[in-house]
């Protein structure tokens, strides 16, 4: 632990040897699916005519909603119910009577290959009664048009939380400010889209499903229910996943049900691989919010009262409940402790793609609201922005710090540990905060505009309910580790192997990790909320400890020593101080499983005439055969990581292009298992955040058409847009909640992006930035509006 061990996965990935869902080869009999999707944002379906498809060569089946039976015909599950979600709605696997966004699945064709399937889709004639769509939060709030007839005001949910009396505190404060902020939609955009392959095994009466998901156990449960199968009849295997970033935690996607449904009905393997346009219009988006902040503060900038209202665009349906806006409303507080806090949000329907967590999951919006407010307070008081923040920090001796709110996991928002003043000092040092004004003046003298911004965040990571792990020492001494959550590139095979090697005392190279395979670990939750290292890491550690304890018990017996006197180093159990008295862990594994039959030299040692005390049962009471350890980790609540980013930008006086001159990160995720991987996560997050802050948006027109549904028009940053160096410093404030003292790190890099760029551009331009992302043309327009105020 703590070593920058190179990722074992990268050899495969970099050499093109990764195996993704589309690479799963279920043989030449495999059929391929394509989906007919709505071209309209809002329409009633009057008729679906599939006549022209039925006699097409190579077509095996075409499904519309009318063809679905039982639970398959019911709406998809509402995964995370919440009492405030009074008007939750989910779509059907195939649209029933009505479509509510461009891209909603209407018909599902299974054919010999994807070409035939797509040709067949093109022949289906749907008659629509096109309805006026609701696009954008303004239209949703107006409520003149409704997405769902039975949801008045398009209001899915309204949730209010308050600690103290925020409005009274603001009214009584010496100073007051109001801010209106907007932040637009973007999306995860993993390079590998969604994909599912299913094979029904008639001989075994069971289903095998490979799917590109962040929760194989979630998919398994959903498929079993929808297809009327026992859980034990369904295996879900997650192969390599080419990026998730949140979108793949949603499940079951229509195709994740339709593919196995068709595979069972047709008796042939069926594959669906999403294309890029489908990913844009039929997966999920995030981020879009409008926010209104009122803040009351004293002469030092200490926030006495904070009252936040925001409106969250949840798209056409709410399969993932209120997780995103709940996270915004709670994590908005960051490292600060306002005197009183009230937050109200409305989650509203629009005729657009669903909104579900995207890396950061509501935190970027909350951080943006809070940090814009801090900057506005500093500007109002003429104070340094870091001073105002420092005046509001929760102090190191105040942990655990209970905000008095309910977090996304239903538990209290109680920060476990942190040291925000120390982080701020490190950041100021790293970015050269105190020297910047001189630099800015120097550049201004040359006619150049530069600006600096900072943003702080706290991220609740490692939420429950639990994860588990299984560690098995083979008779060869190799160690097989399984944990149920899935991997989308985080390096789990490396870090979990590190943890096992450390705890069990084996060579790192001898540990092999499997994730996301329900055959190996049927009890698991999923990979989201920066929880894999905390949850599965802790479980792996605990499971390795159990395996170690068992190994020591058996070895102690064999070596006639006290377990307390034994150590395991590089896979060899030995008596401390007596290296000659030793036994391989592989041999211990042999001994752990009393045998009647020998099958090789090693196993002879465990057969009935070779081993054991004749007066005792071969397997002692309270033991099981095999050298294995299994354990689960279930924390009382999340652990709260934190960080602070600063950026120096230059804005072009003519073109309004924004160039990043320096990007600095101070990051605290407790103890580091692998600093190289943590830094990689930060790099990736920062890059994704730069995209979200400066380039990406979902360009919906007023009729609900997504105009930039391709990589031609949706601008993802290239390496050319990412600064050459990102300066990173770590602070390690351990979490008291888990055995390793770790906190999550996966999402952190992306959280402060909108906030930090808004701050730096504001500083460079002397213009209040109230809407993100900001493109050169947005900045240009903003300049004009300031030069020529209407």
């Amino acid at each position: 632990m703590g070593q920058p061990v190179q990722r074992v996965e990268d050899q495969r990935f970099l050499r093109g040897l990764g195996r993704y869902v589309d690479d799963v080869d279920t043989g030449p009999g495999t059929l391929h699916a394509a989906v007919l999707r709505s071209p309209h944002a809002h329409a009633r379906i009057l008729d679906i005519d599939v006549e022209a498809v039925l006699d097409l060569d190579g077509v095996h089946a075409v499904y519309t909603h009318d063809d679905l039976t039982g639970p398959m015909a019911e709406p998809l599950p509402l995964l995370i119910p919440h009492p405030a979600l009074t008007h939750g709605r989910t779509q059907h696997a195939l649209a029933k009577d009505e479509v509510n966004y461009v891209g909603e699945a209407i018909a599902f064709v299974v054919a010999d290959d994807r070409y035939v399937a797509e040709d067949a889709v093109a022949r289906i004639v749907v008659t629509y009664d096109v309805l006026p769509p609701v696009v954008g939060l303004e239209a949703a709030r107006a409520g003149e048009r409704l997405v769902h007839d039975d949801v008045p005001g398009n209001l899915a949910a309204r949730l209010e939380q308050e600690v103290g009396d925020a409005r009274a505190a603001i009214a009584a404060a010496p100073h007051r400010l109001e801010l209106d902020l907007t932040i637009e939609r973007s999306a995860c955009m993993p390079l590998e889209g969604r994909g599912t392959v299913a094979r029904w095994e008639p001989d075994l009466d069971r289903l095998q499903l490979w799917t590109s998901t962040q929760t194989s156990t979630g998919v398994r449960a959903a498929v079993a229910v929808k297809l009327g199968l026992d859980l034990g009849q369904v295996d879900v295997i997650t192969p390599d996943v080419g990026g998730g970033f949140g979108v793949k935690v949603v499940h079951p996607w229509p195709e994740e049900l339709l593919v196995p449904y068709a595979a069972r009905a047709l008796g042939r393997p069926v594959k669906f691989t999403e294309d890029r346009r489908e990913h844009f219009i039929s997966s999920a988006h995030e981020r879009g919010q409008v926010q209104h902040v009122e803040v009351g503060f004293d002469d030092d900038g200490r926030v006495l009262g904070l009252d936040v209202e925001f409106w969250h665009d949840n798209g056409a349906y709410t399969p993932y409940g209120l997780i995103v806006p709940i996270i915004t409303s709670t994590q908005l507080l960051g490292p600060y402790k306002p005197g009183a806090y009230r937050v109200v949000f409305e989650s509203l329907y629009t005729n657009t793609v669903i909104v579900t967590p995207y890396r950061g999951a509501g935190r970027p919006q909350g951080c943006y609201a809070m940090e814009r407010t801090m900057d506005a307070v500093a500007a109002y008081l003429g104070k340094d922005r870091t001073e105002v923040r420092a005046a509001n920090f929760i102090q190191p001796d105040e942990f655990p710090y209970d905000h008095g709110l309910v977090f996304q996991d239903g538990r209290e928002l109680e920060y476990d540990s942190g040291d925000y003043p120390a982080s701020l000092e490190k950041l100021k040092e790293l970015v050269g905060w105190d020297d910047f004004p001189a630099y800015q003046r120097e550049m201004a003298a040359q006619g150049r505009r530069v600006g600096i911004g900072l943003a702080c965040y706290v991220e609740g990571t490692g939420v429950g309910p639990y994860e588990g792990a299984h560690v098995h020492v083979e008779t060869s001494g190799k160690v097989k580790v399984a944990t149920g959550l899935t991997t989308q590139g985080q390096g789990h095979a490396t870090v979990f192997a590190q943890l096992v090697a450390d705890e069990l005392g084996v060579r790192f190279e001898d540990v092999e990790v499997v994730t996301g395979d329900t055959r190996r670990m049927p009890y698991a939750v999923g990979t989201y909320a920066s929880r894999a290292a905390v949850m599965s890491g802790s479980a792996v550690h605990l499971a390795a400890r159990r395996a170690k304890e068992k190994a020591l018990r058996i070895a102690a017996d064999a070596l006639e020593a006290d377990p307390a006197d034994l150590q395991i180093v590089d896979g060899v159990v030995s008596v401390k101080g007596a290296p000659d008295s030793a036994i391989d862990l592989g041999t211990v594994s042999v001994l752990s499983n009393p045998l009647r039959y020998a099958f090789d030299e090693a196993s002879k040692a465990a057969t009935q005439f070779s081993v054991g005390d004749n007066s005792l049962p071969p397997v002692p009471e309270d033991e099981e055969p095999g050298l294995e350890g299994k354990d689960f980790y279930s924390p009382p609540r999340a652990t709260f990581a934190s960080g602070m980013h600063a950026v120096i930008v230059e804005t072009d006086p003519e073109t309004a292009e924004v160039t990043i001159l320096k990007y600095a990160v101070v990051h605290d995720c407790g103890h580091l298992i692998n600093p190289m991987i943590v830094e990689g996560q930060i790099h990736g997050g920062v890059a994704q955040g730069i995209g979200g802050a400066l380039y990406e948006r979902m360009a919906y027109d007023e009729s609900g058409q997504l105009l930039n549904a391709s990589f031609m028009d949706f601008l993802m940053p290239y390496v050319t847009e990412i600064p050459d160096g990102i300066d990173i410093d770590h602070l390690e404030t351990p979490s008291p909640l888990n055995p390793l003292g770790i906190k999550g790190a996966g999402e952190a890099g992306v959280i402060p992006s909108a906030a930090v760029f808004a701050a730096a551009i504001e500083d460079a331009e002397g213009l209040a930035i109230r809407a993100m992302p900001i493109s050169p043309s947005d900045l240009h327009t903003l300049r004009l509006s300031q030069e020529h105020p209407r």
Binding site: H40, A122, D701, S703, L706, L707, A709, S710
Partner: protein, 217 residues
């Protein structure tokens, strides 16, 4: 998506109006238009093939005219659907008599382009459709210059003489099909535009068909 523009055709407004209301002219001059059928008073069904690279296909569409003010203006509602996408458009078309210079035709279209074309091709639709509109009006001017149509009323089922240069064919009463080869005035550029036009062809139809498809009351 809103598209507006204007083109000047070097012919008197009367000739232009008549030509643009003649389905034989239209089927021959609208890029990608293969078939046009009168389905009722001021209503037409048509088939258009257009495509950009992979996004190509045949659209089945219809249009309905209203508010016909002879030699002045009309309103056209158009809808079409095909594998590549859908279009719905309302187009206001105005004719202005410029005397010796000819006739200015101005159009304002409010179009909803959906499906694959909407997401992938929309960026180029507005500019391409404007250029296609210009090309179309050039075709029309050419057709008028070479063989002014009879301007006789056409009613469903009535036989119509084909326009000489365009050689549109009325295959059955009220049904017009395009000539096998592209019209000469379009030349190479028509293929180019047809290639990049995608839904722009349909948007253009909204624009130009509104101006040109029609019958006298």
């Amino acid at each position: 998506m809103k598209i507006s523009g204007s083109n000047v055709v070097a012919h008197p407004v009367g000739e232009v109006w008549d030509a643009l209301l003649d389905p034989r002219v239209l089927v021959a001059t609208i890029p990608g238009c293969e078939r046009l059928e009168t389905t009722g008073p001021d209503e037409y069904a048509m088939t258009v093939t257009a495509g950009v690279a992979a996004i190509k296909g045949t659209y089945a569409g219809s249009c309905a005219l209203s508010d016909l003010r002879k030699h002045e203006s009309l309103v056209m509602r158009l809808s079409g659907a095909g594998a590549p996408g859908t279009i719905d458009a309302a187009v206001d078309v105005a004719f202005e008599d410029l005397g010796a210079e000819g006739t200015r035709i101005s159009y304002e279209a409010d179009a909803t382009v959906g499906g694959m074309v909407g997401g992938v091709g929309q960026r180029i639709l507005a500019s391409v459709s404007k250029r296609m509109a210009a090309e179309f009006f050039g075709n029309v001017a050419g057709a008028i210059g070479q063989a002014t149509p009879s301007a006789a009323p056409v009613s469903p089922g009535a036989p119509v003489e084909p326009v000489a240069t365009a050689r549109a064919v009325e295959t059955s009463p009220g049904v017009f099909t395009a000539p096998a080869a592209p019209t000469s005035s379009a030349g190479v550029s028509q293929d180019f535009y047809r290639g990049v036009g995608v839904g722009a062809g349909l948007v253009l139809l909204g624009v130009v068909a509104g101006a040109v498809l029609g019958r006298r009351r």
